[in-house]
Symmetry: C2
Subunit: 482 residues, 2 copies
Amino acid sequence: MKKVTEFKSLIGTDGGLSVELTPFLQKELQEPLYSQLYHWIKKEIEEGRLLPGMKMPSIRQLKTHLKVSRNTIEAAYQQLQSEGYLESVPKSGIWVAEIEKPLLHTKEVEYLNLPECKSSSNVVVDFEYGNVDLHKFPLKQWKKCLSDAMDWENNWLYEYSEKQGEFKLRREISNHLLESRGVRCSPDQILITSGTQTSVSLICRLLELQEKIVAMEEPGYSGVRSVFIDQGCYIEPVPLEKDGVSIVHIQSSAAKAVYVTPSHQFPFGMVLPISKRLRLLKWAYETGGYIIEDDYDGEFRYRGQPIPSLKSLDEEEKVIYLGTFSKSFLPSVRLSYIVLPPSLIPHYSRKFADYNQSVSPIIQRAIALFMQSGEFERHIRRMRKLYQRKHQALLKSIEQNMGTKVKIIGEKSGLHILLKLKDGSNIELIEKGLQNGVKVYSPLKFWLNPNSEGYSYIMLGFGGLSIEEIERGIQLLADCLP
Amino acid sequence: MKKVTEFKSLIGTDGGLSVELTPFLQKELQEPLYSQLYHWIKKEIEEGRLLPGMKMPSIRQLKTHLKVSRNTIEAAYQQLQSEGYLESVPKSGIWVAEIEKPLLHTKEVEYLNLPECKSSSNVVVDFEYGNVDLHKFPLKQWKKCLSDAMDWENNWLYEYSEKQGEFKLRREISNHLLESRGVRCSPDQILITSGTQTSVSLICRLLELQEKIVAMEEPGYSGVRSVFIDQGCYIEPVPLEKDGVSIVHIQSSAAKAVYVTPSHQFPFGMVLPISKRLRLLKWAYETGGYIIEDDYDGEFRYRGQPIPSLKSLDEEEKVIYLGTFSKSFLPSVRLSYIVLPPSLIPHYSRKFADYNQSVSPIIQRAIALFMQSGEFERHIRRMRKLYQRKHQALLKSIEQNMGTKVKIIGEKSGLHILLKLKDGSNIELIEKGLQNGVKVYSPLKFWLNPNSEGYSYIMLGFGGLSIEEIERGIQLLADCLP
Ligand SMILES: Cc1ncc(COP(=O)(O)O)c(C=O)c1O
Ligand SMILES: Cc1ncc(COP(=O)(O)O)c(C=O)c1O
């Protein structure tokens, strides 16, 4: 049974616990009002919507609330008291009484079992992808930004945000992109969104991609693929070559748009070389197609030279750039953005004129302050070093414990790697791992058309693990290899 | 020109101002690396991407970053210094120098003019709809909740949220709905969303309403209508009768779903009587159609008896209930929710398995704490009284200043009213009002098919105005009446 303290009052001025009643009383009916009220409350109690120990509104409160006379309520309450449904406690008020069980035929609210299973309890190390490091997070500074954000100006808190997102945040993002990704854009080109999926869904409607072909890396990020499919796009899976997505394949497709992760192919991790980038841009210029560049973890590159983003190479406004704070800051801010080419802005403004911004300006302003203060860049620098150490520890641990039984894939950047298994399928290893206390994942879902290849990899996310956990996890996993 | 202090460094460990460079250096080329680097930096400066006064990365930093030798960088820097592009300041570092204007052919980033015009400056009172009261807002308590939310548990901050939204918040909402709206539902039926438009967009996909007919009040909330249209639904506009939406019209339509605002029709304000509610439910049971009940401001009712929500009357799981915190709390939390009938949950879980929650769990948890502490119910009680006073002042002011020249529409609840003009069209009054310092709005956009009727109303939102402002505004407006 529900705890009484979970209920709070909507009416009554004393702040005490009492419940709000919403009966429907009809003056036109033959049945007197007090009797209607009596029957209604009785039914609420019998069916368990009013629970023993809940405080009833005072007569005065209920009078104001229901716009009926004092007599009506008194009569109903007295009848209910005499029948034992309510209890009057002097100086305290009127309460729902404990009544015998048989009286009640509570329709128990079912708690449905949703497929939201967390890792089982004997898992010691969980290589889940998507988590970030929590030990070096500047919690104090971030809290201060949250608090300061509420004071920043006067009235904004009580209004809707700017449709594209808070200007101050867009200006900070525009500066950040110039410095760290070579992307030159005005704040007016930036749209704030609540996650990469929201970005992609918006782009589908903006470019009217429904029933159009969208080319996507195969394998690729399933979270985004689902959005394309739900928005009615047809997916053209583009095979990967050693150096990333096959441009020839895109050229021979009828795609209206292509979604790519050039800085760090998801999930394989290769970096698209400059020559392919230029050929991809050429495809867009020649066909009029758009390139959707998802630069989700471009901040975390450990080896090799940086390559300019597609967006920074684009000279004909054909690249739509996607960024997110999920890797560089926290997944739990649910904050991401789109950089549109200027030529698409008027179309966007017209098409989305009726839409409200969906990210809370509280979060937006807090992040803007965090960026403005320099904390964000410092945080990224710190995290890049930290992840690099973790990444090295992971690679070393794999080499030492697994030797030639596996091949490491995508070892240059990001917060995850893939292992290609020399023998056996991942199903077996994942199961054995679980029994041995280590949870690893199959990347199978990242294929639109899964084939046997998908079974020969496992995916290891390491962002949220400590170096000790990484080493322990790899040892546990190594024990499970054939 | 951009201020230098806006730029922060991504590299370098000293926290000083320096920029990150992302040149693309190719070892295979004939041109030596130092020369490639030299040309690249020179171009960045000439084209205004590196600005005078910006600090360059140190040689050591750039060496690590680009994975090239110290010599390469020194050679490039020296050449640039000798040509006057860079300046070395002893004990400080290397900076981009001031160079003569003619050297620069900056592609200035255009700031596009978006249609985001704020009220012109001579407006004294703005009856904009959507704002809420700011004077009685419990800022201190809310800040504490935000801060406490960050401490609540250990790891959640660094992970993605539960897909449906934080359980703690869903539990609080479920309690609140039972007490204040008579809606009995389990937290498992609740989905957290980032605004009513997000809710409706999700429902369209869940019920597969694309290319289906959706019935909607005419006039009705255009923010939601746009979503239906963008999702490919056909809108059947249902005329309003004195007591709300025409049920006969819905019955004779081929609608698969109907969107209604029964507690407080938007924008006309009538309350759908119980008899019509029951007939609407019957329509749903007989045709299998769904009712989408938008209870956006059900908390603020000032006159007449409360009527149970459609959801609380629904016995066959045909009502999808929408709630929002935009009126009862703040528009700027961008927080709303859907209550699904249990029978739709498995379908939801399957269809949206790949989707991340889009509202930051920071906001979700802060609101949950705010509700748990009883602050939320107290806030609503306070606001209800406050809005009631404002509402009364508004009505009184209109009666005194405008007499029979206007008719007040929807005077029982909510944060806005309509005025029907006896003479003339709203265009004239809105324009004259603006000249006289008061901004009022045309509800014309709430009609799918605007007709002359739409011009005979003006809409006054009063949530964000003080009683003095309301009175002043009505006086200013009355002066403009013919
Ligand atoms: C390829 C890719 N893009 C984007 C994201 C981030 O998505 P979001 O911004 O919704 O957190 C991820 C995270 O897993 C990803 O793997
Ligand atoms: C009919 C209606 N529903 C819902 C809302 C609230 O929308 P949201 O939750 O996106 O703030 C409004 C606000 O204007 C409204 O008028």
